[in-house]
Amino acid sequence: MDGDFTTARRAWNTLETNHRERLARASAITGGKVVDAADTVALLEAVIEPGDRVCIEGNNQKHADFLAKCLSQCSPERLHGLHIVQSNLALPAHLDVFERGIADRLDFCYSGPQGLRMGRLVDEGKIKLGAIHTYLELYSRYFCDLTPRVSFIAAEAADADGNLYTGANTEDTPAIVEATAFKSGILIAQVNRLVDRVPRVDVPGDWVSFVVQAPKPHYIEPIFTRDPAVISEVQILMAMMVIRGIYEEYGITRLNHGIGFDTAAIELILPTYAEDLGLKGKICQYLSVNPCPTLIPAIESGFIEGIHCAGSELGMEAYVSARSDVFFIGRDGTMRSNRIFCQLAGHYADLFIGSTLQIDLEGNSSTATLSRITGFGGAPNFGCESRGRRHASPGWLKAGREQPRPGTMPRGRKLVVQIVETFGDGMAPTFVERLDAWTLQERFGLPLPPVMVYGEDLTHIVTEEGIANLLLCETMEEREQAIRGVAGYTPVGLARDRAMVERLREKGAVRYPEDMGVDPRLATRDLLAARSIRDLVRWSGGLYDPPARFRNW
């Protein structure tokens, strides 16, 4: 016996040894960390091995687009069977790697405009789909069973030692970097500029394997800019109901807003409607959201104390930098965003409010539509009850008291609100007996229907007709009728039991504008603190610099 354990003969540093082999192969291409853009395909073929798990940084906004394109140009004889673990598939190159047989497995979060093509590639067997995650889930799996062997990231600038400055769009970079660098992975950064000294070190150089200056700056999508000019009176009416019927009622100070026009309308009537109601300092003080331009009037009028951002927004850089009491700003003067921390801050806030495409009679909602695989990004982690929460706040306690609960132990409750018009684009009813998600599940063989916010997590539904408070519904039948009671003239709404809805109204589970002191006559565009992008520029004192496509003056 004397010490002859078989485990003692196992090598325990194979990843590290392999890491050194990869770097050795790369030494034929570069003598240091900096790699010429023209040599990038050769570098990738040298350091990636068939079957590797590869992460291409693809956030909501920022994309390692040059490296993604280079990967798609690699030889399928050299590189094949790759397993892509990537949060956001937005660019054609992201799917080209599957079309060309370089990669065949995929775990991801969100696909947006590539959803249709992805559906086809899954049908053709070119993509073996692992799972569709939320952002937090996929990042968590980077530190568990889906750690990348090679990761591509995007940064604003790098120095010769590989120190990286991400600029305001740090987004998902820290999660990818941490998981890759500390598990003997190869980390390749594409940067817009090579500099002698970076303005601040967002990623330390000794974590970075290689740096490539891309021929063009990395792609950034301005997805959080909502033009006040197209906010409708119906959206203003719904915003008024949210402020009176939910924010004021529960005293909501910490929250997360979605990024649609419905929540932009709320932001734009804070300095007018909510101010007149004396709600400044009582609601909407801390937000977890990107720097949406429609927040400017509420910030300038002193409503909002603090905002932590998952990413940035084009045109908002100078404004954000000049408001370092509100935003999170580095010593260099530019914003630092971080999607994981923003998601966590929003998860443990008092309220989430966002929009959706379909809601069923149990309150389950989904933005999944037939024929597309898109995923939900971060919405499910914001739009759910935070069951690990232990600290109290007045709104959280009030919601907890409202919810019927078995047993005697008191508990709080996060508010999860969906704000929708009863009819969407093309007069498609938002309220349905059966979500398209069920058909999607069958079509793509998914383990579950893709639901964005589960009915059991949802507490309120706001429509132009009124607010359904699902916490006050004691049975599934009551819940169904409360939903029908705000579903307007959709078939679901028309099939309501009027007597039961009236009873629900008496106990506050259904409330119409007059029940919460909302006067529809005020629901005009005059109520908006800014009625155009130009007004937003004016509110910002000229600091907001909107992208050209939003300028019409």
Binding site: V234, G488, Y489, R521
Partner: protein, 105 residues
């Protein structure tokens, strides 16, 4: 264009603040609503011109609910619709009624 007319039982006892009101504008996704006082033995006469065909039953429900909500009678309601959703229609009707009754509900 589709032209619809409904004759609907009204409610007694509403004293209008003015003889007629006009709110909204005809435009894509929007509508114009006029409410006029009329001697109709308590009934309500509703005339709708809409750019979208085939929604007569929905219009009838929207208008019936509206008249009941504001307990209107002896009125002529004229609607010029540019393809508004029921949400916009409801809001515009409520705004017109609030003007007509002087905000008393």
């Amino acid at each position: 264009m589709e032209h619809l007319e409904f004759d609907i039982a009204g409610w007694a006892g509403v004293n209008p603040a003015r003889d007629h009101v006009l709110v909204g504008v005809v435009g894509s996704g929007n509508l114009e609503v006029m409410i006029e006082r009329a001697e109709l033995a308590g009934r309500c006469a509703v005339a709708i011109d809409t750019s979208i065909h085939g929604f007569a039953p929905t219009w009838r429900r929207v208008v019936e609910d509206f008249l009941a909500r504001h307990r209107l009678g002896d009125v002529r309601v004229s609607i010029n619709d540019g393809g508004a959703t029921p949400a916009v229609v409801g809001l515009r009707l409520d705004q017109a009624a609030a003007e007509y009754t002087g905000g008393v509900r």
